[in-house]
Amino acid sequence: MATTCNITIASDIAPGFGGISESMTLTQAGNLTDIDSTTGFSLRKLSATGAVDLVTMANELVEPKDSVSAKIYIRNIGDGRGNIDKSVGVTIGVNAETIGKLYGGDWMMMPLTCIDADDVTANPDTDNTVVLEYIMFYEEA
């Protein structure tokens, strides 16, 4: 079983920047064994400002192993009805720390500690409906 993730960044900001194209296979920490657990693919609809937990580490049915090689993918897919507004976003955080804002259509792939306090949070800019899709990969404790 394998989980792979590829990224391609293309830009005309600098003529000499040839772009980035990289792939990774998600493995367990410190070895080449494939990562073995996932939350599954989820959608979360938010319709009000205020931070909410996107992932509450202590509530996962399968306890994630702490401080290893977990990753999370999150994407702001707009209002869920095909309307994607690039001018408003959802602020993503870990524990109490703001990581950054996903504007409409933006995505992120980030490592996680999976420590119980390090929940992944989401806080929309506005009360307008916004939908996040996300999936976390982790090692079972």
Partner: protein
């Protein structure tokens, strides 16, 4: 307008219904729909084990739409860098791992810091942003 796109494909057979995700985003300045991010800091660094270092030397403008890509090019799967922000542990990038995040830089302490473990890790990063405060000589 400068145009930068970031595309991702994610596939997994961990579930009986295979997961396949594909997405692409044009990276815009904060709050705009017509003006793309237009500045970039791109580097490759070798970081020895030991101290924690700020990955970004300058100070990007806070609370904008900056995006940060980091890859650990170490070929030893036991090597990793621990990534923190404002003393908050984010996670670890083992050899071959990469991350791509929106980076808020909401205050002076909110830089992305990394600590090398196992041995010297070779790190590639690209910060795509819309402004930074350069360090005076």
């Amino acid at each position: 307008m400068a145009t930068t796109t970031a595309a991702v494909t994610l596939s997994s057979d961990l579930m009986s219904a295979n997961i396949s995700v594909s997405a692409s985003s044009t990276l815009m300045k904060a709050g705009t729909t017509a003006d793309g991010l237009d500045q970039i800091e791109y580097a490759v660094l070798e970081i020895a084990t030991g101290d924690e270092y700020d990955l970004i030397a300058n100070t990007p403008t806070a609370t904008k739409a900056s995006k940060l890509y980091v890859k650990n090019h170490s070929i030893d799967e036991t090597y990793f860098v621990a990534v923190t922000q404002n003393s908050q542990a984010i996670g670890k990038l083992y050899g071959g791992d990469w991350m791509f995040i929106p980076a808020d830089f909401h205050d002076a302490a909110a830089d992305i810091a990394i600590t090398s473990n196992g041995g010297t890790n070779k790190i590639e990063y690209a910060l795509i942003h819309e402004g930074t405060t350069l360090l005076a000589t």
